[in-house]
């Protein structure tokens, strides 16, 4: 089995861990403070649904992650000519990139929570800003390393700058942009859970906060498990979009 083919069987790992968890914590160490007993976790599903308002909290986080990701993706497409040609915007994003190396993005979230403590919409603004800036920084990097042959050949046929940017440059950056989207997707989930944990209100992070307050290990575990599944499904969805629309590689 080659390394490439072994990727196909990665699902085996979580399945093995799941079975191990059941064997170890249901039968061997049913009473412990490390992980909850599987049967208790399954029983607490109802409580997670009703007491912790799982559906609304999940929808709030899922909406913030995916709507902001989609909005950021389509907006960078719209603003690509400006990103490519505006020097001041380029320097602005460069400065933000410099900051992002030393100041965690969550710090911006703290300021937003301080300024707008009661707004539910602020979470979406925070997610969108994070996604948009991350994509702009990535695009700026990619623009520096574009393969010249594609652009030269089409420009020689009379294509103007706008045509090249919209039809060629946008396509050229897709493979790397999608690689970045996978990382950004996970990053957004993490940063939003932390944001919700700090801010309160609605979201998966709020369930974690409440469950910690009540010392409810089963709820923490089940919430983490379900969040993991949702993130996995989101990754599959992005992979599907990549396969459907950008199933090619450059040289």
């Amino acid at each position: 089995m080659t390394y490439k083919n072994s990727n196909k069987y990665l699902w085996i790992y979580p399945a093995v861990y799941f079975v191990l968890w059941i064997i170890l914590f249901e039968f061997i160490f049913p009473v412990n403070k490390i992980l909850p007993k599987p049967s208790i976790v399954f029983d607490s599903a109802g409580a997670l649904w009703s007491d912790y308002n799982f559906l609304f909290n999940l929808l709030s986080t899922v909406g913030s992650v995916y709507i902001s990701l989609l909005a950021a993706y389509f907006l960078v497409r719209l603003f690509l000519p400006a990103i490519k040609s505006t020097n001041s915007l380029f320097h602005f994003t460069l400065s933000l990139e410099w900051f992002s190396h030393y100041v965690p993005g969550l710090v911006l979230g703290l300021f937003l929570i301080y300024w707008f403590p009661d707004s539910e919409f602020i979470e979406f603004i925070f997610a969108f800003c994070t996604a948009f800036l991350s994509l702009v920084i990535k695009i700026n990097k990619e623009l520096k390393t574009l393969p010249d042959e594609y652009i030269s050949s089409i420009r020689s046929l009379g294509a103007d700058e706008l045509f090249v940017t919209k039809n060629i440059v946008w396509k050229l950056i897709q493979p790397e942009l999608f690689k970045h989207l996978f990382k950004l997707h996970l990053y957004l989930w993490l940063i939003l859970i932390a944001f919700e944990f700090i801010k309160g209100g609605l979201g998966i992070g709020v369930i974690f906060k409440d469950a910690l307050l009540y010392r409810d290990l089963s709820a923490i575990f089940l919430n983490a498990l379900l969040t993991g599944v949702i993130i996995y499904l989101g990754t599959l969805l992005i992979k599907l979009a990549q396969k459907k629309f950008f199933n090619w590689r450059l040289n």
């Binding site: 393969p147 010249d148 042959e149 594609y150 030269s152 050949s153 089409i154 420009r155 020689s156 046929l157 009379g158 294509a159 045509f163 039809n167 060629i168 396509k171 897709q174 950008f246 090619w248 590689r249 450059l250 040289n251």
Partner: protein, 255 residues
């Protein structure tokens, strides 16, 4: 009327440290007829790509004059198409889509749209209209780029050393294809190459170029009727000219 006149063309590039490096100096040559096959033979790093890009108006900052049909031009798409060294057919478009893209640039004329099939068949890709070039050979991708360039109906197509990464068999096929198109269509080719054999097989005129900085130092007229019989004689002549310039080792000579 001359097709292309390159007069006293010089070009500098600015390095990262702000220093100016002279890439081309006093480049002079003329392509007379509209159905010719001309080559520039030069070693690696002589500035062939820079020269072709300057002729294609992809690089506009230069000294000297470049005229197409006696007219100075400074914009792309005025009758010159450029095929770069690396494959340039777009991997996200099929063969047909690659050619139609040119027509999208020129405004989607219906009459031109009908000609897509004609250009595909001209480059020998009939039956491959719906194929995507992403995983295809360099030869396949060159044919797509050539069809796209031809669909713009240029007077001159610049080919930048495209054949060096191809197999011998593919090269032979493409040499025949280019000669065939050159005879059938009213289009000239200007090939930049490091390969003596290649330029002798294809061209009726060869400009010899040296490096540091790049300049044309000699011209050789070739009677294609004498190829391949007298290919060794022409090679010897080229060898001698490059030897005089102390640059023989830089050229890839195999016959």
């Amino acid at each position: 009327m001359d097709l292309l006149q390159v007069k006293n063309v010089s070009k500098h590039v600015e390095g990262f440290s702000g220093t100016r490096q002279l890439i081309l100096t006093d480049v002079n040559f003329t392509i007379n007829s509209v159905d010719s096959f001309t080559s520039i033979l030069a070693p690696y790093g002589a500035g062939k790509t820079t020269l072709l890009k300057t002729i294609a108006a992809l690089e506009v900052k230069h000294n000297g004059e470049i005229k197409l049909f006696e007219k100075i031009y400074d914009k792309c798409g005025k009758g010159i198409a450029y095929i770069p060294e690396n494959p340039s057919s777009f991997p996200w478009l099929d063969v047909k889509g690659n050619i139609l893209l040119e027509q999208k640039i020129s405004g989607m004329q219906k009459t031109k749209k009908l000609q897509t099939e004609h250009f595909i068949s001209l480059v020998g890709l009939s039956g491959y209209e719906d194929y995507f070039p992403a995983n295809k050979s360099n030869g396949f991708r060159f044919r797509v780029s050539l069809a796209r360039a031809l669909s713009a109906e240029p007077k001159l197509i610049l080919i930048d050393d495209c054949f060096k990464k191809m197999t011998e068999e593919t090269r032979e096929e493409l040499y025949k294809l280019l000669k065939n198109i050159n005879e059938k269509k009213e289009v000239s080719f200007l090939l930049a190459s490091t390969n003596v054999n290649e330029v002798l097989r294809l061209s009726t005129k060869v400009f010899l170029m040296k490096n540091n900085p790049g300049t044309i130092f000699g011209t050789l007229n070739i009677d294609q009727k004498e190829i391949p019989q007298k290919i060794s004689d022409y090679t010897n002549q080229i060898e001698k000219l490059f030897r005089n310039e102390k640059m023989l080792n830089s050229i890839n000579i195999y016959v």
